[in-house]
């Protein structure tokens, strides 16, 4: 007994989805988190709230709106159709879009905290040492927020692996294209195939535990490093 070929398909699809989503989120999340951490604009509150929405909304709500937005009659759907990309719902890239939205706060918030934790001083220091804006970002901000990037990547990845509602709404259940592990698990349970379901469920459980363990031990080490620094 073990994973069926369909299970393995679902696992590989899920890993691919999570990897692509995490990469996109780190790229998009960096400027967004930087802006949120440093701006004095009055839009900071509203934008921060929008980014955090997936934390509290039922995933089906997000999935529903994305379906409408990306569908053939939605504004984004019309655009992608004009661009010759077709419509995104029920494709892998549709899932990516949904996952990016859904996992956004899990990436943006750790980055935002990391950036805010740096404070203005190291950047001013770098500026008086002739470091221009890019130089400051690459050689001061990035190394100083390494911890935040690890946490953001791990949480973004793990949260994408664990999603279900958004996937079902805009991805459906197409083997090899949109059938991710959580959906596959749902199918097993629907079919009363509990033995197969156990395999997938336990795998997700162990995976999530290990990921969280990783995050907490990373943060723990960061904390004790800081304590040493101030001693």
């Amino acid at each position: 007994m073990g994973f069926s070929p369909a299970d393995l398909d679902a696992i590989s699809l899920t890993l691919r989805l999570a990897t692509v989503t995490t990469a996109i989120l780190l790229l998009l999340g960096t400027p967004l988190a930087w802006w949120l951490a440093t701006t004095a604009s009055r839009w900071r509150g509203p934008v921060g709230a929008i980014v955090a929405l997936p934390l509290v909304l039922p995933p089906t709500v997000i999935g529903f709106y994305l379906l409408i937005l990306l569908g053939p009659r939605g504004p984004v759907g019309e655009l992608t159709t004009v661009l010759g990309l077709g419509t995104l719902p029920f494709t892998f890239w549709g899932l990516v879009v949904g996952s990016v939205v859904y996992s956004m706060p899990f990436v943006v918030q750790p980055l935002q905290n990391a950036f805010a934790g740096i404070g203005a001083r190291p950047l001013e220091m770098a500026a008086t040492l002739r470091a221009g804006p890019w130089d400051r970002f690459l050689n001061v901000v990035l190394p100083m927020s390494k911890q935040g990037y690890y946490t953001a990547a791990v949480l973004g990845f793990a949260h994408t692996v664990g999603e279900f509602g958004v996937v079902l709404m805009i991805g459906g259940n197409i083997p090899g294209q949109t059938r991710v592990v959580s959906v596959q698990l749902y199918d097993h349970v629907e079919a009363l195939d509990y033995a197969q379901a156990h395999w997938l469920a336990a795998t997700l459980l162990v995976f999530s535990f290990v990921v969280l363990l990783l995050v907490y031990s990373l943060q723990g080490r960061a904390a004790s490093f800081l304590a040493r620094g101030s001693a």
Partner: protein, 373 residues
């Protein structure tokens, strides 16, 4: 007792001038504007002195390009850093900045902190006439054995020395120091001061040195600029300016001169300044070298005759230049000795009993003299 704000424009070498003519908002929580219109010599150490919240740090941050200037111009030794339509961003201004809390990059070793500056200084190289050698700076600041350590493993004083070395490595044409000793305890202050004095002697970079310590001003500064609520109260050479300030217990005079002779038997040295001579404790300084001493007002008493049968060694003829009497018991008497000034703090009763008047000849009896450098 007020003295005219004396700008040094006449005495300044026209090739080396720092022109600060700008306005800026001082801090976030203060309600005044920093208003400057002055020229400082573009060499030596200019101390920016004032109470906390007087705009000292804002001044430095504006010069460095870290804080916005509302209007006006900043010109350093013929280079315009800020003017209408021109404002170099901080990273294009050739300044070295030493922050109050000894800021180092915590994620880098001491050596890597220095590398950070040196690499970027090279990118701006070619514009600097005589780049300072790294080994020389490491030597000067005495940080050779700290290079492999992390900032977290350094003491406050060590961190500040590394920060100063790093600021020098950028090949600055102006060094900005924001109360570099304020965050240190007394012991570490005494540890750093000699390095700053060495810096002053050995490196020809103009320095703007923000402080609220009279001691640091008297030991380090060549010029003094006093700020009060964002405006320049007075500026000029440190001796005259300092002796004109209301400093309470710290009121006093700074005298510049040379050690002329020493008396081996009594371990004394003779200090000659423009206006007289003082016997001071011989600490082994070389004769004929430039020396600076401070005489606190509370260590000067007055008499109408030269001291006789007194334990006080130094009794100097002087003329009363001004008398400042308040409501309290004590008065400050400003004395003219040739080209120099001494301040005496005496009781108002003594002023009355001696019949002190402006222009009167008196003898200043100096109980104690501190050699500053």
């Amino acid at each position: 007792m007020t003295i005219e704000p004396r700008l040094l424009a006449d005495a300044i070498n026209p090739e080396k001038v720092i022109t600060l003519r700008f306005q800026a908002r001082a801090g976030t929580d203060s309600d005044f504007t920093l208003k400057l219109d002055l020229q400082l010599p573009g060499e030596g150490i200019s101390a920016v002195f004032g109470a906390s919240g007087s705009g000292k740090t804002t001044l430095l941050r504006c010069v460095a390009g870290l804080a916005p200037v509302l209007s006006g111009s900043i010109v350093v030794n013929n280079e315009t850093w800020h003017d209408t339509g021109v404002s170099l961003p901080a990273h294009q201004r050739p300044v070295g900045y030493v922050f109050q809390e000894a800021s180092l990059f915590e994620h880098l070793s001491t050596a890597a902190n220095l590398d950070f500056a040196e690499k970027r200084a090279k990118r701006f190289g070619g514009r600097v006439a005589s780049p300072i050698d790294r080994n020389q700076i490491v030597e000067l600041m005495g940080i050779g054995r700290l290079l492999q350590r992390r900032p977290a493993q350094l003491s406050g004083g060590e961190r500040q020395r590394v920060a100063i070395a790093r600021a020098l490595l950028i090949n600055p044409r102006l060094l900005l120091m924001d109360e570099p000793l304020a965050a240190l305890d007394a012991g570490h202050k005494q540890e750093i001061l000699p390095y700053l004095e060495k810096l002053h002697r050995e490196i020809q970079i103009p320095v703007l040195y923000v402080t609220h310590s009279v001691d640091e001003v008297s030991r380090l500064a060549d010029q003094l600029l006093v700020l009060q609520e964002g405006e320049v109260l007075v500026s000029g050479p440190v001796g005259p300016v300092l002796s004109g300030l209301r400093l309470g217990d710290e009121a006093g005079a700074v005298l510049e001169g040379r050690l002329q002779a020493r008396d081996e038997q009594w371990k004394l040295a003779l200090f000659r300044f423009a206006g007289g001579e003082l016997w001071v404790r011989d600490r082994g300084q070389p004769l004929q070298s430039d020396t600076r001493v401070r005489v606190l007002a509370r260590d000067v008493s007055l008499s109408l005759q030269p001291a006789q049968q007194s334990s006080i060694l130094n009794s100097l003829p002087a003329m009363v230049e001004s008398i400042e009497e308040g409501d309290e018991a004590m008065a400050l008497v400003r004395l003219r000795l040739g080209d120099s000034v001494l301040i005496a703090r005496v009781s108002r009763r003594s002023v009355a009993e001696l019949g002190l008047e402006l222009g009167m000849a008196v003898y200043a009896q100096v109980k104690s003299v501190a050699i500053l450098r």
